[in-house]
Symmetry: C2
Subunit: 349 residues, 2 copies
């Protein structure tokens, strides 16, 4: 993410517009810094560009009543486009690493009698410290082939995403966006509401973002997800394509609302209590894991549709798909326990 | 199981040999009743034969010091043979039903927004009340084909097991065993130790059986299994054949020791407290579920080795295999929580 800290205190008694403008200036400066860094370190530059774009877009969304919508709405759309375009390459890379690691884990035996150390308390699967090599057999061969197939497909997707990024960065569309960001460093088109004191306006708008998050999270099947091994997420593994999407979408939505809430807190500098900040950060990490597992499962299903693959390869992909849906379920479980730690009866059952 | 209740109270002050003999008589009578029932209701008769054979063998094992080993050991071996032979047909039938139900569950979408009711507290997956039909797609087709393949293979295995049962029941080997059981109704070859008072001997031997169970259960990775989504059981899904066997064997062993403990309690009529009896019954059910899931997963892996299956079929079998290993993990989780409900730190993590 964006490592920039926004730590200069705003003047006491500032207007809402002043505080928001100050935040947007900082983030726009980060964006332009990312742009100039691109020749040196592309990955770092892109992460800075994406983080800045997401934060500017998020602030414009949450504090929408303070800026001219005729200016803000199209800018937000362009920022979302850029963020999505630049995000694809690292996503494909991360997905490939995740799936190859899962295949490795599914193919090795933990040394007998050893209890692997658990990776944190989030229910994640810790790879065994000293993996024994998988001995042969058709299933192990299938795993190797499945790994090679995924590597081929995801590397191709990554290369294409890289080309698309380069093309986007050279486009007139990006040029116009960079111009708009440069303007944002100097001036932000504010509404009359922005003239009110920051304390009178910003906490209220940030509170609305928190409320949207709370409402969306409350609508999730948290009670159900807090029961381990409910097998809900894996249920979609052989169903119609749409099944997983329908099931996952509300969780993805909460992930986005959580991000907006965290960005809003950057603007208002609402410190909250440390425990609450940590809880939001942990929740964000779990929903990120949920998304990664869900998208990795989808990539596996796509690979399984490759014509003329060997049955052993397809079998390994099936195991891997179910494993990733299992990870989806594990992330939901951990999120449910984190979000509502006092689910009645959920602990013991 | 054997529905016979062994409820006649033994005379107060009976010897150990008298109490054991009385129990063996009852079970031998059940065995002979099963034999005569076979013409009418084969399934019920076989269940009675198996339940009686397991109980006689179990009592001879736990209370071994009370009977002549030269007589008891070969008899136990023959009882184990019969029990295993008669058990195969219902096992194949149960496995097929379990796998078809799992395939159905993996292929349908739960109606959106509905939270299916959890099936008890054992972490089991409750099928949705009103399954929506799976719409097409290559994966759904693969699931249908995988179901047909499993149906073919397990029905064939079932038919073969049935023939083997019939052949066994007509064999001179079975004839000799039935003769031995008939003798057991009239006389049991006891050792001098059997002349001691029942209270001085039986609780001690039954206690040794409980201790063997407690030791074996304590050697299981219960702390690890009590962490949901540790992904241990699924780890073996693509590994060498031996991986799952090595991992599952200690759990299967505890299942057998648990059964011996419960049978020993039938002999001693140790009522225990009701809560403890219920706990052992629940534990037995969970380990039975563990075994069924593990053996079902193995049957799926075997089906996946069928030559010339379509990739979509293999893919569905891979998903199903992982699902059943997931069920193995869920059973271990539930057993761990039941067996040691106060695992430190296991609740919250
Ligand atoms: Cu919006
Ligand atoms: Cu490049
Ligand atoms: Cu023995
Ligand atoms: Cu028959």
């Amino acid at each position: 993410m964006n490592a920039d800290s926004y730590d200069a205190m705003p003047p006491a008694g500032a207007t809402a517009g002043e505080v928001l403008t100050r935040y947007l200036h900082e983030r726009a400066a980060g964006f332009l810094r990312g742009l100039s860094l691109r020749g040196e370190n592309e990955a770092e530059a892109d992460a800075l560009l994406r983080g800045s774009a997401r934060r500017i877009g998020g602030a414009l969304h949450t504090f929408g009543p303070l800026t001219d919508p005729a200016w803000a709405e199209p800018l937000r759309a362009e920022l979302a486009w850029l963020s999505a375009t630049l995000g694809r390459e690292p996503q494909h890379a991360g997905r490939l690493a995740r799936l190859l690691e899962a295949l490795r884990r599914l193919s090795v035996a933990a040394p007998e009698g050893q209890e692997p150390v658990l990776a944190g308390g989030t229910g994640g699967a810790a790879p065994p410290a000293v993996p024994a090599p998988a001995s042969g057999g058709p299933l192990a061969l299938g795993a190797a082939r499945a790994g090679a197939l995924l590597e081929r497909q995801l590397t191709l997707a990554r290369t294409r995403a890289h080309s698309a990024s380069l093309q986007a960065m050279g486009s007139s569309r990006f040029h116009a966006l960079a111009d708009a960001i440069a303007v944002l460093v100097s001036e932000v088109p504010l509404t009359p509401a922005a003239a009110q004191p920051a304390q009178a306006v910003l906490p209220q708008l940030a509170g609305q973002a928190s409320q949207r998050l709370a409402d969306a999270a409350a609508a999730l099947p948290l009670g159900r997800a807090a029961h381990p091994y409910n097998a809900d997420a894996v249920q979609a593994a052989l169903g119609a394509e749409l099944t997983a999407d329908l099931q996952d979408a509300p969780w993805h939505q909460v992930r986005i609302l959580l991000r907006l809430t965290r960005y809003a807190a950057e603007v208002t500098r609402a410190e909250g209590d440390t425990a609450e900040r940590q809880r939001l950060a942990d929740a964000a990490r779990l929903l990120e894991r949920h998304r990664e597992a869900a998208e990795s499962a989808a990539a596996v299903a796509a690979a399984a549709r490759t014509p003329r693959i060997a049955p052993a390869t397809a079998y390994a992909l099936g195991v891997l798909h179910a494993d990733q849906r299992h990870e989806v379920e594990a992330a939901r479980f951990a999120f449910s326990r984190l979000w509502q730690p006092a689910v009645p009866g959920a602990r013991r059952e």
